[in-house]
C-alpha cells in the first residue's frame, strides 16, 4: 500500500445523461468517505467516474499525486492504471470463473497482496473458495466481489452498497471488521449507501441529491 492515509481527492464532475445532470465539485481528504443520498442522486456515477468507467463531459479527478482525469488538459488515465478497486452493487463476478479465480484475477505476480485466507475469513466466505460462481447467493456474490477488489491491492477502494444483500447482523459485523482492516492497512475508501446507519463509521459524509452536493460533514452532522 503506497497511498498515505488520508489521501487528497479532488472531484469536479459535470455530465448529462438523458434527463439526469450532474454538477459536482468537492475536494478534501479521504480515509473513509461516505456518499449518501436517495436512488438516482448520482452516487454510483461518482464512483464510475473515479474508476474510469464513465466519461464526464468536463471534469477533473485527482487522487493523491495522480491525475486520473482532466478533460481541460485532455488527460484520461485508463481504468487499469488507476489502482482503484471498484466493488459494484451487483458484484459483477466473472460467471465462467471459480470463486478462487475471481478473487485472484487482479492480483499480479510480483506484487504483494493481503493473504487470501485473511480476506476470505474476514468476509465470512472462507468456505466458498473452490465453488463456482453460479450457485452463490446475492450476499455471497457481493462479498466475493469485495474480496476480489481487496486482493487487487488498490490504493483507493470504491464500495457501491457492497453488502446490501447481506443480512443485517452479518452486514454490521463485516462492516465493522472491514472498517478496522482498512484503517490498519491505511487504505482509503469511498462508501456509497442509502442507509444512514451503514455510514456511521465514516469520517466524513457527502450528501448527494439530483447530481448535486447537498451537504457535507461528519455522520453526526448530516445523517
Amino acid at each position: 500500500m503506497t497511498a498515505a492515509s488520508p489521501a487528497a481527492l479532488v472531484l469536479q464532475i459535470a455530465l448529462r445523461q438523458g434527463a439526469f445532470t450532474m454538477e459536482l465539485g468537492w475536494s478534501g481528504h479521504v480515509s473513509l468517505l461516505g456518499l449518501f443520498g436517495p436512488s438516482g442522486s448520482g452516487k454510483t456515477t461518482v464512483l464510475e467516474v473515479i474508476a474510469g468507467l464513465r466519461h464526464p463531459a468536463t471534469g477533473r479527478v485527482v487522487f493523491g499525486d495522480r491525475v486520473l482525469l482532466d478533460t481541460a488538459a485532455g488527460r484520461w488515465l485508463p481504468p487499469r492504471r488507476r489502482g482503484v478497486g471498484y466493488v459494484p452493487q451487483e458484484g459483477a463476478l466473472f460467471p465462467h470463473l471459480t470463486v478462487r479465480d475471481n478473487v485472484l484475477y487482479g492480483s499480479r505476480r510480483g506484487r504483494s497482496r493481503p493473504p487470501l485466507d485473511e480476506v476470505m475469513t474476514m468476509l465470512e466466505i472462507g468456505g466458498l473458495v473452490e465453488r463456482s460462481v453460479a450457485g452463490l447467493s446475492g450476499g455471497e456474490r457481493q462479498r466475493v466481489a469485495l474480496a476480489r477488489a481487496l486482493l487487487s491491492s488498490p490504493s483507493l477502494l470504491l464500495l457501491d452498497e457492497p453488502l446490501s444483500a447481506v443480512d443485517v447482523p452479518r452486514r454490521r459485523r463485516i462492516m465493522e471488521r472491514l472498517t478496522g482492516w482498512l484503517a490498519r492497512k491505511r487504505l482509503p475508501a469511498i462508501h456509497v449507501s442509502h442507509d444512514a446507519s451503514e455510514l456511521a463509521g465514516a469520517d466524513r459524509v457527502l450528501v448527494l441529491g439530483e447530481g448535486r452536493l447537498m451537504a457535507e460533514g461528519t455522520p453526526d452532522d448530516v445523517l
Binding site: 471498484y86 466473472f94 487482479g106
Partner: protein, 220 residues
C-alpha cells in the same frame, strides 16, 4: 467405402480442418470488431463479409481465380515468391476459408454481442490490459457461439463445390474433395460410389449442424 472413398474423405477433412484453423484469427477479429465498433465502416465490412453467402459460389471462384492466377494482383506476387496456388490443394483451402468465414463471423458475433461489457470493465479496473480482457473475459464468455460458428464453417467448407471446381479443379489426391468427386461420379454414371459419398456427407453435415445448434442453444 473403398480406398478411393476413404482417401477423398480424409483429404476433404484435412483441408477442411486446416481452413477452419486458418479462419479462426480473422474470424475472431472481425466478429469482435463488428460487435463492438461504432465505426461507419461496420455496414461496409458486414456486407463484404456476407457476400460469399449470397454470390453464386462459381462467381466467387472466378473472382478468386482472377485474384490468385499468375497474372492476378495477388497471384503475380505469390508467383515471384515461388508459391503456386491455383489448381493445388492451397486453392481448395482458400475457397473453403472464403466460403466458411461468413458463417463463422455471423455466428461468433452474436456471442460478443451479449451483455459482457460490464465484466470487461471490471476486469480493466483490476488491472487487465486489452489482450488479457479479450482472452480471459470476452472470448470465454462468447466461447459457445464461437465454437458453433467454427463447426458451421467447417461443415460448409467440407461441402464446398462451386468455388473449388473453378479455382482448384478435380485432381485426384490433391484437389478432389467429397463434393467434387461426387459430381464426377454422377457425370460418369458411377452411382454406387456417388451414394457412398453422399451418405458420408450427410452424416458429417448432420453431426456438425446438430452440434452447432446445441452449442448455440446452450449459450443463449
Amino acid at each position: 467405402m473403398t480406398v478411393e472413398h476413404i482417401q477423398i474423405v480424409v483429404l476433404t477433412l484435412a483441408i477442411g480442418l486446416g481452413a477452419t484453423v486458418l479462419m479462426l484469427p480473422p474470424g475472431l477479429a472481425l466478429s469482435w470488431w463488428l460487435a463492438r465498433s461504432r465505426s461507419r465502416l461496420v455496414p461496409v465490412v458486414e456486407t463484404a463479409v456476407a457476400l460469399p453467402l449470397v454470390l453464386p459460389p462459381v462467381a466467387t471462384g472466378y473472382l478468386l481465380l482472377r485474384l490468385l492466377g499468375r497474372r492476378g494482383p495477388l497471384g503475380a506476387w505469390l508467383d515471384t515468391a515461388g508459391i503456386e496456388v491455383i489448381f493445388t490443394w492451397k486453392a481448395v483451402l482458400v475457397a473453403m476459408v472464403v466460403m466458411g468465414l461468413p458463417l463463422l463471423v455471423r455466428t461468433a458475433r452474436t456471442g460478443f454481442e451479449q451483455n459482457t461489457r460490464r465484466f470487461e470493465q471490471i476486469a480493466e479496473t483490476l488491472g487487465a490490459g486489452p489482450w488479457r480482457v479479450f482472452f480471459t473475459i470476452s472470448l470465454p464468455l462468447a466461447r459457445r457461439a464461437v465454437l458453433a460458428g467454427l463447426l458451421l464453417a467447417f461443415a460448409r467448407a467440407l461441402g464446398e463445390f462451386g468455388a473449388t471446381i473453378v479455382v482448384a479443379g478435380s485432381l485426384p489426391g490433391e484437389t478432389r474433395t467429397i463434393a467434387v468427386a461426387l459430381y464426377g461420379y454422377l457425370e460418369t454414371g458411377r452411382d454406387a460410389d456417388a451414394v457412398a459419398l453422399a451418405l458420408t456427407s450427410l452424416a458429417i453435415a448432420l453431426l456438425a449442424v446438430w452440434g452447432s445448434n446445441r452449442l448455440v442453444r446452450e449459450s443463449a
